[in-house]
């Protein structure tokens, strides 16, 4: 027995050593004072020591995770590229605070593997080890939801982009600010567009993916359409991963609607559109989520023609200093063309809305710091609360009510439609809202 206990003792000591080794091996905090868990959200950033005539440079650390692996890899890459472009541009000059301090920015970023468990782990690490001053969200509503809990718990401002869910902002957060148009307004513009195109249209069929995002979108669209006097003749959900839409298409044909709305994500949306075309569904108007704004959507050929889709932003969107002036809103940042050209020069491709969202996240944070004239969390938060600005990404203003603090209230979706150019090639055109449109919508669809 005594020998056995000696063995235990040795093994336990080895284990303890290994564990403390682990703790050091991972880039975890060691000697530096860990934050007291009970401490209330404190103002993290320290302002430059004393205002001196010679400019003092201060580096602000912005933390975020991106999905370099996992299901969100593609859109997340676009978002990160947008952010990197902003970083390059802002650091060329820096932001000058009233006390003469020049603020430069630095990113701390990790791969979250599109995984919620990792997101919480990494955001805790960013705040505690990397001593971030501000945070930007990961891509997708689910991951952002997980990150928002941590950001709020440690009292850091987080600009969320790539996260459209409304629910995140209705939990009582004070420091989380949304850039995307919320899911509840994804398809409401399509209802308005339909009303504008054809006042006699009355019947809408809604077929959607049975997941969180799509369900949120269609529930809101249904309520909105009904409030406008439309009849929802079909409201059906399909499981994620569905590849055969024949049962739904048969039901749509049976219900004989004027318009079809719904969809979910890229794979199911494009398959749904393709099968509707193959079955020659007689309908005047089709608006689907997520898939149509993707350039790859054109791969389904003729079936893409006439399909409408909501997008957070498009390069054709006509936001400009002049339109800001006309609407009585302040303009901030580069023009749409400057942003698109800069992005194109850096990455050799046109930015999609994920990239524009990422770029805008940096831009809005920069504007808030400028307005606040400080890096203090409370002052920057006040500046974000008061913000009402038009940028190349569109109009940005946050809800400041207690029920939905941080929810985006001003940004509008743009609606694209696949049309044909003079040479018969499929191209995306912005057809709604009217002030941003690049072409008139094709209506009714002839098939």
């Amino acid at each position: 027995m005594t020998r056995a206990f000696r063995v235990i003792l040795v093994l336990s000591m080895l284990a303890a050593l290994a564990l403390s080794g682990c703790a050091k091996a991972t880039p975890a905090p060691t000697a530096t004072q860990p934050p007291k868990p009970t401490s209330p959200p404190a103002a993290q950033p320290t302002v430059a020591p004393t205002p001196k005539p010679t400019p003092v440079t201060k580096t602000v650390v912005i933390g975020f995770t991106s999905s370099k692996t996992g299901s969100q890899e593609v859109p997340s890459t676009g978002q990160t590229r947008g952010l990197e472009l902003w970083l390059e541009q802002v650091n060329a000059k820096g932001v000058t605070l009233p006390d003469g301090t020049i603020v430069k920015f630095e990113f701390k970023t990790y791969d979250d593997e599109s995984n919620k468990e990792r997101v919480q782990q990494l955001y805790t690490k960013l705040i505690n080890d990397d001593k971030t001053n501000f945070l930007i969200s990961p891509y997708s509503s689910g991951l952002t939801d997980a990150a928002a809990v941590i950001a709020e718990q440690y009292g850091q401002i987080m600009i969320t982009t790539g996260a459209a869910s409304d629910a995140t902002y209705k939990k009582g957060y004070q420091l989380v600010f949304q850039l995307y148009t919320p899911a509840s307004r994804y398809l409401t513009g399509a209802v308005d567009l339909l009303a504008k195109l054809d006042p006699t249209a009355k019947k809408i069929a809604i077929v959607h993916e049975n997941d969180k995002f799509s369900t949120d979108v269609v529930n809101a669209a249904k309520a909105y359409a009904e409030s406008k006097g439309y009849e929802i003749v079909l409201f059906e959900g399909y499981d994620s991963g569905t590849t055969d839409f024949a049962p739904f298409i048969n039901k749509i044909i049976g219900a004989a609607p004027d318009a079809i709305m719904g969809g979910g994500h890229f794979a199911d949306g494009s398959t749904f559109a393709k099968q509707m075309y193959e079955k020659q569904v007689k309908v005047k108007f089709i608006a689907l989520l997520v898939a149509p704004p993707e350039l790859k959507f054109a791969d389904i050929g003729e079936a893409a023609f006439g399909i409408i889709g909501p997008s957070q932003w498009e390069p054709q969107a006509a936001y400009s200093e002049a339109s800001a002036k006309a609407a009585g809103i302040q303009w901030y940042g580069p023009s749409v063309a400057d942003f698109v050209n800069a992005y194109n020069a850096k990455y050799g491709e046109n930015p999609a809305y994920h990239a524009a969202g990422g770029y805008a996240a940096g831009l809005i944070l920069q504007k808030a710091i400028e307005d606040a004239g400080s890096l203090d969390t409370a002052k920057v938060k006040a500046a974000l609360d008061a913000m009402d600005v038009l940028t190349c990404y569109g109009h940005v203003k946050f809800d400041t009510s207690a029920e939905a603090h941080g929810l985006q209230v001003a940004h509008e979706m743009v609606y694209i439609q696949w049309q044909k150019d003079a040479s018969g090639k499929l191209v995306k055109q912005v057809v709604w809202p009217a002030e941003g449109k690049s072409a008139d919508a094709i209506y009714p669809l002839s098939r």
């Binding site: 056995a4 206990f5 063995v7 235990i8 093994l11 336990s12 284990a15 303890a16 564990l19 403390s20 703790a23 991972t26 975890a28 905090p29 060691t30 860990p34 934050p35 007291k36 868990p37 009970t38 401490s39 209330p40 370099k68 692996t69 791969d111 593997e113 995984n115 919620k116 468990e117 990792r118 919480q120 782990q121 805790t124 690490k125 705040i127 505690n128 080890d129 689910g142 939801d145 997980a146 928002a148 809990v149 709020e152 718990q153 440690y154 629910a167 995140t168 209705k170 939990k171 009582g172 957060y173 049975n210 997941d211 969180k212 799509s214 369900t215 949120d216 959900g237 499981d239 994620s240």
Partner: protein, 322 residues
Amino acid sequence: MKAWRYPAFWLTLGLVAAAGAVVFATRSATLREEMFLLLMFVTLASSLNILLGFTGYVNFGHIVFFGLGGYVGFYLMSQHGWPLWWATLAGGLASALLAWVLGAATLRLRGAYFALATIGVNEAVRAFVNNFRPFGGPTGMSLNFAVYRQYGGPANALWWTFGAMFGLTLLVILISYLVKFSRFGLGLMSIREDEDAAMVLGVRTPNLKTWAFVLSALFPGMVGVLFFFKNGNVEPGDAFRLQMSIEIIVMVMLGGSGTVLGPAIGSAAYERLRGYLLTSPIFKNLHLALAGFLLLIIVLFVPAGLVGWLRNRLPKLRRVLE
């Protein structure tokens, strides 16, 4: 109950206690988050081991208990304002109840048939939750941030959750040993060796199997509640991930099924390995394939896992590595 007489009992408890204690000693939030995941997987693997290791029944749907328990607890917290502790207990009991009902139906199946049935169960419960309105359907449920104030402020709530997970891990290790060295455990192991012979010798196999199943379901249910409480929301896609079930089996097999120390070491090792693979540019998209490959290697060459292999090689360590 003579578990405490074995050095192995103290060694395993000591290891887990050290893992938790190091977090409280350093007060490092980053380390806490890493250890939370590690202890979570230790608990999930150890609880699966009660069925898989002791009775030899392969359960591919272990994660269903994590998901359902998590959902029930979350529902009680978010819709009825229950405190975390009671909700955690309720989540565990809900999973145990599901196991009891399922056990009556599926434990009559043996071998591959039982394994196949458990896969179906996970998918069936996921589909049910996806369409069950009180649980939020496909949208799931969210917690209001104000809830965390009950626990001494939001950041403090994370410490409480970690403390609860730590306690739960110690408890599952303790229970595993108590089961292993009890008459009940002996009955379970006789089922693993030869169920028919055990039955002939008077072991009430249907009863024992059901209780083992219920016990193995209790802990993942409680883990689920803690995990989703920390996340602040729950969705069907996060709650019922079939691939996690498979990874838990790999963890048990890697460390050594049937021992208590094995699943604990296996899950810690696999969790570290997974973290490495997922961030490695070469293996990032292959981590599940590697998990499968690892399982194949273990089953073919080291069926007893790491701890079992060491026990066979070094007989002197048999009382230490149980």
